[in-house]
């Protein structure tokens, strides 16, 4: 099948993603050096917050959204064996999203949008920043639409058949993103842009935070689902085995999508504008959404065990040693899971309602999400890129061993950087400070950890550069070798011949989500229209 369009879409999207990534990595290194206070010549508060805001936007919005779109287009076309529906529309979505990034970049880089990627009004950025971000989201909605259309196109021409797991996961993510982005879209369109333009005098920061919380939790699952997709559909085959359970994978994905949405208020545990009952409700939901991750961990490790034993591994743990550690996908998943276990532990602390008070908004929090996002998730973005690049460019990966070095260094760098970050949080260091100005003995205990973080940052930056080099060299390097082959999707241990409709479609789950969202966010949002609230006017920074 000629899927050149899908390949071009995938490459274009992923190049935007990884360019954003490498730029943001340099910024991250600057930040860790700046905030250590050891280099006086680097000290600049305004540059620091410009950098933090841009680093956050590039990593959390640009890298993720473009990677997910690119991976999704290729997965849809390759796993369903159908061409991209309406390629012109897909390219239009790409252009809109890219235009949004460029429009947002201007105020960001010129220091007119140092409001961090979380916005947090009433501090207000230049309106172009909000418009740019909106266009990025609109572009991604086009992708969601195309994924859903292709899902139903395939179902229509294959009645009664089981949708390939790769596409099931991709469509789940498209739907998740549509639901997720509603909150932040409402905040930007009805609060931030009108205030930034001067059309409205005030906004209610309580409402703004609630709408943002709607988005803030499921968005991390939007970023994570491509990693889980690779866990389920690539890893078992690459490791030399079978997927332990296809059905369990589908159930985990459904629970993930459904329960990641109605729980966002765990980001507002420490906020005064919500009552404790709502916070507890969202807290319980947060523990429910831990279940699909626990199931995913089980299924993936069981699949790896099958692979290890098929390769001759014996004994209780012998199969671990006989896994193909020199296969980037296998190494990637092992390192990813290690970081998931550590990061998951931290996540339980954050989720634990009252215990959260000890670490809320401290350095622990960026430590946690760098481990889970930049670690667990992004290392799988790397392995997916290493796996797909030869198919996309029709050239073999320039060097397997360089890829292994890159994955190991990323893992080591992330461990060196996030461990002291967590400790700093426990020692009371607030997140989001550019320097330590407190005249207090406590701050002296922070210094050695800051130095360790610089070291971690350097390892990470080198690893990121190596990643970029491998992709460039693979695609543009002078080689006459032609790579031929097809993407191999893992086969389940037990073949799935038929499935009940609720495990092969999302219609029912959309209704469930609508009900759950109404229950968990209905009153918390409506209360702002019933209470006598006082707006805040826009502030600079």
């Amino acid at each position: 099948m000629n899927n050149t369009t899908a390949k071009n879409l995938a490459l274009s999207h992923m190049w935007v993603a990884f360019t954003a990534f490498i730029v943001a990595c340099f910024m991250g290194q600057f930040q860790v050096l700046e905030r250590s206070g050891l280099f006086e010549s680097l000290t600049s508060i305004s540059l620091y917050f410009t950098s933090v805001s841009t680093h956050g936007v590039l990593m959390a919005y640009v890298l993720t959204t473009f990677f997910i779109m690119g991976f999704g287009y290729y997965t849809a076309s390759d796993s369903l064996k159908i061409p991209i529906w309406n390629p012109k529309l897909a390219w239009a979505g790409f252009v809109i999203a890219l235009l949004g990034v460029v429009i947002a970049a201007v105020p960001l880089l010129s220091g007119l949008a140092s409001v961090l990627y979380t916005f947090y009004p009433p501090v207000t950025a230049h309106v172009a920043f909000y418009i740019g971000v909106t266009l990025l989201v609109v572009g991604s909605w086009v992708w969601c639409g195309i994924m859903i259309v292709m899902f139903y196109q395939w179902k229509k021409s294959n009645p009664g058949k089981v949708v390939p797991l790769a596409m099931f996961a991709t469509t789940a993510n498209a739907l998740l993103w549509l639901w997720t982005s509603v909150g932040v879209a409402a905040e930007v369109l009805f609060q931030l842009i009108p205030v930034a333009l001067g059309l409205m005098d005030t906004l209610d920061p309580g409402l703004a935070r609630t709408l943002f919380a709607w988005t803030l939790h499921p968005i991390v699952y939007f970023w994570l689902i491509p990693a889980y997709t690779a866990f389920y559909v690539f890893v078992p085959k690459q490791a030399g085995g079978y997927l332990f359970s296809d059905e369990a994978a589908r159930m985990a994905l459904i629970v993930l999508v459904v329960f990641s949405l109605p729980i966002g208020m765990h980001h507002l545990y420490m906020d005064p504008e919500h009552a404790s009952g709502w916070k507890l409700l969202h807290g319980v939901g947060t523990f429910i959404v831990a279940l699909p991750t626990l199931v995913t961990g089980f299924t993936v490790i069981a699949s790896l065990e099958i692979a290890g034993r098929l390769r001759g591994g014996k004994g209780l743990f012998g199969w671990i040693g006989s896994l193909p550690w020199s296969n980037p996908m296998t190494l990637g998943v092992i390192l990813s899971l290690l970081m998931l276990i550590l990061g998951g532990f931290g996540g339980i602390v954050n989720a634990s309602y009252a215990m959260n008070a000890m670490i809320h908004n401290t350095a622990w929090v960026p430590g946690h999400f760098h481990l889970i996002f930049a670690g667990t998730t992004v290392i799988m973005y790397f392995t997916i890129a290493y796996y797909l690049w030869p198919f996309l460019c029709k050239k073999p990966l320039v060097s397997n061993s360089l890829a292994l070095v890159q994955l190991w260094t990323w893992f080591i760098g992330m461990s060196i950087m996030t461990t002291p970050w967590h400790v700093l949080g426990l020692l009371g260091q607030p997140r989001r400070i550019s320097s330590v100005q407190y005249n207090n003995v406590l701050t002296m205990t922070w210094e050695p950890y800051e130095i360790l973080m610089i070291l971690g940052g350097l390892v990470l930056l080198s690893s990121a550069c190596l990643f970029f080099y491998i992709l460039v060299k693979t695609q543009f390097g002078a080689t006459t070798e032609v790579f031929v082959g097809e993407v191999e999707y893992a086969e389940p241990l037990h073949e799935v011949k038929e499935l009940p409709e609720y495990l092969n479609d999302f219609r029912l789950w959309n209704k469930v989500i609508a009900v759950l969202m109404f229950i968990s966010f209905g009153v918390p949002i409506l209360q702002f229209f019933f209470m006598d609230t006082y707006g805040s006017s826009a502030w600079g920074y």
């Binding site: 009433p122 359970s245 059905e247 199931v295 309602y353 607030p430």
Partner: protein, 186 residues
């Protein structure tokens, strides 16, 4: 459909773990009243100086007739006002925080005194400090380019010392008040 018995067991174990965590949180919240700050109380941030409760004279540590201690604090770029407070150790203290401008957050390291301070809302936290010492109150939410510099100090001293100090101060205050009254009468 095929779900392996081993996988079913694991799902049950996972459910059990989640249920355990949730029950601990619920028992703490419902029976021991360990809750995050959640009082849902509004205030006009632009008129805080005109409000009765948070007028300048009422800020800081206040002791009610029944002995309850309330600390009223205003967060504004870039400090928490008043900038220095003195608190007794081993005593329940109610903090009430408001913002006069943008979003702030405050925590005192190594304690559970932590809350977001959202403009338009009063944040109320209860805490007590077992050990005397100097506790910084740090802003933990980005509030502008001066965010790094936003902090104030709380000194926690022995309960007896604090009470003696307070008695002395109120005596001095009374003397001044009486003197004032006398001079007014003259």
């Amino acid at each position: 459909m095929h779900i392996d018995p081993l996988e079913k067991k694991w799902v049950l174990i996972s459910l059990g773990m989640s249920a355990l965590f949730v029950s601990i949180i619920m028992i703490d919240a419902l029976f021991h009243s360990v809750n995050a700050p959640s009082n849902v109380e509004t205030i006009d941030s632009r008129k805080i100086h005109l409000s009765k409760e948070f007028a300048e004279d009422n800020l800081g540590v206040q002791v009610a007739d029944n002995g309850d201690i309330t600390v009223r604090m205003v967060a504004g770029r870039y400090a928490f006002f008043p900038k220095k407070i003195i608190l007794p150790a081993e005593t329940k203290i109610t903090f009430r925080w408001v913002s006069m401008d943008v979003l702030h957050g405050v925590h005192m390291p190594m304690t559970n005194m932590s809350t977001m301070i959202v403009p338009g809302y009063v944040a109320q936290v209860e805490s007590s400090f077992p050990r005397p010492g100097e506790y910084p109150m740090l802003c933990n939410e980005y509030c502008g380019l001066g965010h790094d510099h936003m902090w104030s100090k709380a000194f926690v001293i022995d309960k007896e010392e604090w009470e003696a100090k307070r008695a002395k101060e109120s005596a001095a205050l009374n003397t001044t008040a009486i003197a004032k009254e006398e001079s007014n009468n003259e």
